[in-house]
C-alpha cells in the first residue's frame, strides 16, 4: 500500500477529457479529477442537468456517452466527492456521492484556476504541492482548506490518507 506523504499534501489536477480520445473527449471538457495525496479524489463538474430522472441512473454502457450533460451525470455518479456550481454554498448527498455545491461565480473562478494547473500536468500521477495553490489557485485552495478538508463527510480511510 502506498504510504502517506511525509511533507505536505499533493494535489493532482487532471482534465478528464484527456482520459478519452476522439470526438468523445470534448464531452468531458471542463471536468477535472482532483487527487489529493495520490489517493483521495474529488471531481469538479460544471453545471449538471438536474431534470428528472434525478438522481440520474448510469447508462448500460458509459463508453457510448454522447452529450456533455450525460458525461457530467456519469462523472457525478461515479464520484465519491464532487464539486458543482449552484445558487449557494451547501452540501448535498446523492446516493453515496457527497456533492459540494458552490456558488456559480466562485465555481467559474475555481475552474479557471484548475484549467491553468491542469495545463502543466503530464500524467494522472502528476501533482503540485498544496502550498503552491495559495499563489496559483487561491479560490481552490480556500475551498479545500475551508470546506473540503474540514468536512465531516470525508470517509475515515480518506481522512487517514489526508493525514487527519
Amino acid at each position: 500500500m502506498k504510504p502517506a506523504r511525509s511533507h505536505e499534501l499533493s494535489v493532482g489536477v487532471w482534465p478528464v477529457q484527456r482520459d478519452h480520445s476522439g470526438a468523445g473527449a470534448s464531452l468531458y471538457n471542463g471536468i477535472y479529477t482532483v487527487t489529493l495525496n495520490g489517493t483521495v479524489q474529488l471531481d469538479v463538474i460544471p453545471q449538471v442537468d438536474r431534470s428528472p430522472p434525478w438522481p440520474p441512473v448510469l447508462p448500460d454502457n458509459v463508453d457510448l456517452c454522447t452529450t456533455p450533460d450525460e458525461a457530467r451525470r456519469i462523472t457525478l455518479l461515479l464520484a465519491r466527492y464532487a464539486i458543482t456550481p449552484a445558487s449557494q454554498d451547501s452540501v448535498e448527498i446523492v446516493d453515496d456521492v457527497t456533492i459540494f455545491d458552490i456558488n456559480g461565480a466562485t465555481f467559474a473562478q475555481l475552474s479557471t484556476e484548475l484549467e491553468v494547473i491542469a495545463g502543466v500536468m503530464t500524467g494522472v500521477h502528476d501533482s503540485v504541492d498544496f502550498s503552491e495553490l495559495q499563489a496559483r489557485a487561491p479560490v481552490f485552495e480556500r475551498f479545500l482548506r475551508e470546506r473540503f478538508l474540514v468536512s465531516d463527510r470525508i470517509l475515515p480511510p480518506d481522512l487517514a490518507m489526508l493525514g487527519r
Binding site: M1, K2, P3, A4, R5, S6, H7, E8, L9, S10, W14, R18, D19, T33, G38, Q41, P55, P56, V57, L58, D60, N61, V62, D63, L77, L78, R80, D89, S90, V91, E92, I93, V94, D95, D96, F100, D101, V120, M121, T122, G123, V124, H125, F130, R145, E146, R147, V150, S151, D152, R153, I154, L155, P156, P157, D158, L159, L162, G163, R164
Partner: protein
C-alpha cells in the same frame, strides 16, 4: 443508490465485470460511515460544516511509514527500512536492468513513472522510467512499487504514465503510446493491493500491518469499482482487465472469501 456496487465475488467474475448490476444496491462496505455525525444517505441538503481547523496544515504533515532497524524479524516481514534489506541491492539491480532508475526523495510519494518524451507531433524521442521511493521507507513498500513496475512492463499494449515534450511541458496530442487513465490507474492499484495483501498474509506479517493493508484493499475496491470499472458499465474497462490483469477477478473473489467485504 442508483449506482450498482459489487456485493460479492461473483459480481466481479470476468463475464460480470462488464455486465454490472442493473438495480441499485448499497455500498459493499460500511465506508459510508463518516468521521462526523452525518449518516443520512438520502437526497438531502444541509449547511456546510463551518468549523475551520486553523492548524490543519500541521495535521497534513503525517509521517510516511518509515522502515525499522534490521533484525531477523523486521527483515522477514519486510518492515525493515528498504536499504537494510538483504534483497535491496539485487532488486535495484533488476530494476536497472529493466531500464528504471531509482529516485530517492522525500519530496514525492512513492510511485512509478514511465515517461514518454515526444516531439510536438508526437514522435517518440525516448522513454524515461523511474521508480520514486522515500529514503528509509519500508522494504514492503518498495515491493509495492515493484508490483507497479511489473504491471506496466506486462501490459498488452505499451502504456506510459506521462507524455511530455522535450521542454517538460505535457503532450496531449493524439499520437504516441497509450497514456494511463484515471480509470486504469484505479484498476491497477486495486490489483497491486490484492497481490500485495496475499503476499504479506502468506509471509505472516504483524497483525497491524496486515490489518492496515486489508483496509487499504477495501478502500481501493470502492474506487476500482466506481472509477475503474464505471460500476460495471464500461466494456472498455472490462477489456482492460481481461488483457492486462486477468487474475484480478480471482484475487478479488479470494479476498472476499477469506476476508469478507
Amino acid at each position: 443508490m442508483r449506482v450498482p456496487a459489487p456485493k460479492a465475488a461473483g459480481d466481479l467474475a470476468p463475464k460480470s465485470i462488464g455486465a454490472g448490476e442493473k438495480t441499485g444496491t448499497s455500498p459493499d462496505t460500511d465506508e459510508v460511515g463518516t468521521a462526523g455525525s452525518e449518516t443520512n444517505q438520502t437526497n438531502t441538503s444541509r449547511a456546510d460544516n463551518a468549523n475551520i481547523e486553523p492548524a490543519f496544515e500541521e495535521k497534513l504533515a503525517t509521517g510516511a511509514e518509515r522502515g525499522l532497524d534490521p533484525t531477523p524479524e523486521s527483515i522477514r516481514q519486510g518492515s525493515v527500512r528498504m536499504e537494510a534489506h538483504p534483497e535491496y541491492a539485487k532488486l535495484t539491480a533488476e530494476l536497472e536492468s529493466k531500464g528504471y532508475s531509482l529516485r530517492l526523495t522525500d519530496r514525492e510519494r512513492p510511485h512509478v513513472v514511465v515517461k514518454e518524451v515526444v516531439t510536438p507531433t508526437g514522435e517518440l524521442i525516448r522513454i524515461e522510467k523511474v521508480l520514486v521511493a522515500n529514503p528509509g521507507m519500508r522494504f514492503l513498500d518498495l515491493e509495492h512499487e515493484l508490483g507497479h513496475v511489473a504491471q506496466l512492463e506486462q501490459t498488452k499494449r505499451p502504456l506510459v504514465t506521462d507524455q511530455v515534450l522535450e521542454n517538460g511541458k505535457p503532450y496531449s496530442g493524439p499520437n504516441g503510446s497509450d497514456r494511463l487513465t484515471t480509470a486504469q490507474d484505479a484498476v491497477l492499484e486495486y490489483h497491486n493491493r490484492l497481490v500485495e495483501y496475499f503476499r504479506l498474509k502468506e509471509r505472516g506479517v504483524a497483525r497491524e500491518i496486515l490489518d492496515k493493508h486489508r483496509d487499504g484493499v477495501r478502500t481501493q475496491r470502492q474506487l476500482y469499482w466506481k472509477k475503474g470499472m464505471s460500476s460495471g458499465r464500461s466494456p472498455s474497462a472490462t477489456t482492460f482487465v481481461h488483457d492486462n490483469v486477468s487474475d484480478l477477478p480471482d484475487l478479488d473473489r479470494r479476498f472476499i472469501d477469506e476476508e469478507g467485504l
